[in-house]
Symmetry: C2
Subunit: 161 residues, 2 copies
C-alpha cells in the first residue's frame, strides 16, 4: 500500500513515505535474499540446512558439546516443538543423541556426536565462505560497522520478547 501522507494520517496510521518505503524494502529484500542464498548454498553442498547448522554450532560451542533442549531452542530462535522435531531428525542421522538430564528429570540433553562434529566441520567451511562472499566481501568496513550497530540496536528492542 502506498499511501499519501508522510506522517500520521487522519486515520491515525503513521504511513511510510516514499524514502522510508525504499529503505524498508531494501532492508527486507536484501536480508531475505541473503538468507535464502546462504541456506541454499549450504543445503546443496552439504545436505545441512541453515536451521540444522545452527543447532550443531550451538552444541559444538558448549563444553561437553551438549545443551538442554530449551536452552538450545532459545539460542537457535526456535520454538521447542520445532527444535524437538529437528533433534529427532539429527538423531536419525547419528549427529546428535538425546540423554536425560542428570540434575532435572524433566529435562533432556542434546549431545553432539563425533559424526555430528565432523559433519559440522565440513559444513562450516562452506558456510563461512558463503558469508564472506555474499556479505563481508560486498561491504566496506564502515558499512559492516553500521550493519552491526543497526543489528544490535534492533536486538535490544526485539530480544526481550
Amino acid at each position: 500500500m502506498t499511501s499519501g501522507s508522510p506522517d500520521a494520517a487522519a486515520d491515525g496510521t503513521r504511513w511510510l513515505d516514499a524514502e522510508e518505503q525504499k529503505a524498508w524494502r531494501a532492508y527486507l529484500f536484501s536480508s531475505m535474499l541473503l538468507q535464502d542464498r546462504l541456506d541454499r548454498e549450504l543445503t546443496h553442498s552439504t545436505g545441512i540446512s541453515h536451521a540444522y547448522y545452527e543447532i550443531l554450532v550451538a552444541l559444538s560451542e558448549t563444553p561437553g558439546r551438549s545443551m538442554r533442549m530449551s536452552e538450545l531452542a532459545d539460542r537457535c530462535l526456535s520454538s521447542r516443538s520445532r527444535l524437538s522435531h529437528a533433534v529427532s531428525r539429527l538423531e536419525e542421522r547419528g549427529w546428535v543423541r538425546r540423554q536425560t538430564c542428570p540434575e532435572d528429570g524433566r529435562g533432556q540433553l542434546a549431545v553432539l556426536t563425533d559424526e555430528g562434529f565432523e559433519a559440522l566441520d565440513a559444513a562450516a567451511h562452506v558456510h563461512v565462505e558463503s558469508v564472506r562472499t555474499h556479505l563481508f566481501d560486498q561491504l566496506s568496513p564502515e558499512q559492516i560497522a553500521s550493519m552491526r550497530d543497526v543489528g544490535e540496536t534492533l536486538l535490544r528492542h526485539l530480544g526481550p520478547r
Copy 2:
C-alpha cells in the same frame, strides 16, 4: 564454529574473526527476529501472513490490479510453484481470481478482487504500524540511512541471480 585465525587459514578457508562473528550474528538474528515479529503480528491480527500480504500489495500497486504469475513471483521473491499454490489459496478466500492472459495463451493473470483490496486495506494499517514500532522508531535517521545503504549494496550483488 569458532576458529582461530583471522584471515585465510592453512586450509584456505577465510574464517570470521570474533568481531566479524558479532557483526554477522547481530545482523542475522535481528533480521530473523524482526521478520518473525512482523509476520506474527500481521497473521494474528488479520489472518494474513506476510507472504500473502506481499502478493496483495504487489497486485494493488499495479494498474488494473493484475499481474502475470511469473512477474508476481519475482516481485514476491517466490518460486513459481509456491506462488501458484498461494494464489490458489487466495482464490479460495475470494481475494484474487485467475484470468487467462489475452496476449499470451500460456499466461495467467492474477487479479485482485474488491474483497481482496478491502482485506489488504485493513492489513496495511496493522503492518505499517508494526514496521514503525519495531524498525523506524528504534533507529536514528543516520542508522536508517545506513540500513538502506547496506541493503541496496547487498541487493546489487544478490539481485541478479
